[in-house]
């Protein structure tokens, strides 16, 4: 998959650049420039490229290839992998109900983001996208949860959800009831996590949307208003369609975030109760890394990798046809 991407990006073979350079260089002065170009360029390349290539190869490319290799072994991490397991690890991963449930949880994160978080973020963004001082204050407040680390957001809400101490306990206390431990109740625990996700990330999407809204030239909107369009009509027929690229980007960020979702789960539930709140990454961590089942964990990594590549290809195919993708 990686290969097709590279080839596609390549287009022309590298040799074709040379004649262009040569043809431009005529006359002794330009030849001198060319010589300087040539000699200086080579040494610069040899000095400037290797650090990046080395680091990238050692810590990104080789590991991802090794993941593929390890995933065919049953290995506990000591010595070298020897017990060839074929596709056993994959079979085990894909037939594990906990893994399927983890995938489903990742999907929930995406759904909640698309159906609740993004509309709320958009609504708020449109309310406060002007440059008045009040809007700036609100913007800063809504963005605040986003600057916390996921671990911190998780810990704060672990307290709020605590059946003895937090917010939930207080609300039940008003009615003289002992509060349930939300995070220890299967079914509710995942819903509770999703609420934290919305709380933490809607400000991020709001900021994206505000940037997108401010990118719309005001004369377009003004002229529509002069023509008698209502606020709602302007929003529905001008603002939202013009913000389509930003909305797609926000959705894309939600999907990427969901695929990496981990940090918040550990403080909140560690994947429990009864393994109902794992994401794919926390599943990988719990069953691959903590138990040093390297082959199994690598198989999970490869599955995640394939999902990521598919998302990427899908995203590019669907939304990057416009010139927006010219550079990358």
């Amino acid at each position: 998959m990686a290969k097709t991407r590279t080839v596609e990006a390549n287009g022309t073979p590298d040799g074709t650049y040379r004649p262009e350079v040569l043809s431009r260089a005529n006359g002794p002065f330009k030849q001198k420039v060319r010589a300087a170009l040539k000699s200086g360029q080579l040494t610069t390349c040899l000095l400037f490229l290797p650090p990046a290539l080395l680091l990238f190869t050692v810590f990104v490319i080789i590991p991802i290839l090794e993941s593929g290799w390890y995933s065919f072994f049953s290995w506990n991490g000591y010595g070298v992998p020897q017990n060839w397991a074929g596709f056993d690890n994959y079979r085990q991963v894909l037939s594990d109900p906990i893994f399927t449930n983890s995938l489903l949880n990742n999907l929930y994160v995406i759904l909640v983001s698309a159906l609740i978080q993004l509309p709320v973020a958009m609504w708020i963004a449109l309310l406060i996208s002007d440059r008045t001082r009040n809007s700036l204050v609100f913007r800063a407040i809504f963005f605040l949860p986003y600057i916390l680390a996921d671990v911190v957001a998780g810990l704060i809400w672990k307290f709020l959800y605590d059946g003895d101490y937090g917010l939930v306990a207080m609300i039940y206390g008003w009615f003289g009831q002992q509060a349930p431990f939300v995070l220890a109740t299967p079914g509710w625990a995942m819903a509770a996590i999703l609420l934290v996700v919305v709380w933490k990330y809607f400000g991020f999407h709001m900021a994206l949307f505000i940037a997108g809204r401010q990118g719309i030239p005001s004369d377009v909107i003004e002229s529509a208003k002069i023509d008698g369009a209502s606020q709602w009509q302007v929003t529905r027929h001008i603002v939202l369609p013009m913000m389509r690229p930003v909305i797609v980007l926000a959705l894309f960020f939600s999907i990427l975030g969901s695929l990496q979702f981990f940090d918040m789960i550990i403080p909140l539930t560690k994947g429990g109760p009864l393994n109902t709140t794992h994401s794919v990454v926390s599943y990988l961590y719990t069953f691959g890394i903590l138990r040093m089942q390297v082959g199994f964990g690598s198989a999970v990594g490869v599955v995640l990798f394939i999902i990521c590549v598919l998302v990427m290809v899908f995203y590019k195919r669907l939304f990057m046809r416009e010139p927006a993708g010219e550079r990358a």
């Binding site: 991407r5 590279t6 420039v33 360029q41 991802i64 090794e66 709020l160 940090d263």
Partner: protein, 274 residues
């Protein structure tokens, strides 16, 4: 009449949303000043009796500062190395002509396709084989490597927009490429360098999974690991834990106030990331 009604609801809605946003943070901050009994009955209000011991004992203990120090060390070197390594290669990719340039460019951006969690086990072995397990460098180097792709894409895009005439003039004056890079490209690219720096700083400061896998010795814990350990140790002594949480928020808050513009710019520049 109509617009007034609209503004009325608009403010009501905004205040409600802002309240929901701030409530957990408020509860955390004041919670650090409360006794356990107070927390049990009064999660949101002001403390009935202000207890300063939680905050004081953390601020005067060594653990908190050690954690922040470790995180700062990791972040400092992650950002510096990311910027140096990626800007050098982005410069060659943007302005020099050499065989295989496109291949190398595409190769270095392959990292955009997947998060490091996919390869975290092999990275662990890679780091172990290099003898960097249980050292801060075992976190720094993989972080830098996984920053390279997005950093190179952003920097290369920016470098390419620098007018060619500048370079031609410099070459005619006998300027070397290295000098050109340091004296022309870098000073002209401050905004994008700030963006890349901020993105990698925030990523490094908040990183949890990588140090969790690489670091075992708790004297080397960066703060996200330290805070989890602290919570594990004090369990339901929530007053202490909340004080600790509040204090770890402060650096992020200060940084946000300082670099708000770059942070927002960094977010929106994600458009190039795809």
């Amino acid at each position: 009449m109509k617009p007034r009604l609209f503004t009325y609801y608009r403010w009501l809605f905004l205040f409600l949303a802002a309240g929901l946003c701030l409530l957990p943070l408020w509860a955390t901050f004041v919670g650090g000043f409360k006794s356990t009994g107070d927390l049990r009955t009064n999660a949101l209000g002001l403390p009935r009796e202000w207890i300063f011991d939680n905050y004081v004992s953390i601020l005067f203990g060594s653990r908190f500062w050690q954690m922040l120090g470790n995180s700062a060390f990791i972040a400092l070197f992650t950002v510096t190395l990311t910027l140096i390594v990626s800007s050098m290669s982005a410069f060659t990719l943007a302005h020099l002509r050499f065989a295989g340039k496109r291949w190398i460019g595409s190769y270095l951006t392959l990292g955009l396709t997947f998060p490091f969690a996919t390869a975290v086990l092999p990275i662990f072995f890679e780091v172990r084989n290099l003898g960097l397990l249980d050292s801060l460098w075992g976190v720094i180097l993989p972080q830098v490597a996984f920053n390279l792709s997005f950093a190179i894409v952003l920097l290369r895009g920016f470098f390419q927009e620098i007018p060619k005439e500048l370079f031609e003039a410099a070459l005619i004056d006998g300027c070397s490429y290295a000098k050109m890079f340091i004296q022309i490209v870098i000073p002209l690219s401050r905004p994008i360098i700030a963006t890349v720096g901020v993105l990698s700083l925030v990523g490094s400061w908040n990183n949890f999974l990588l140090p969790l896998v690489m670091i075992d010795n708790d004297a080397l814990y960066p703060w996200p690991l330290g805070i989890m350990q602290y919570q594990g140790q004090y369990g339901t002594d929530w007053g202490r834990v909340l004080a600790f949480v509040s204090l770890t928020i402060l650096p992020a808050l200060g940084f946000y106030l300082l670099a708000q513009k770059q942070i927002i710019a960094g977010l929106t520049s994600g458009a190039v990331k795809g």
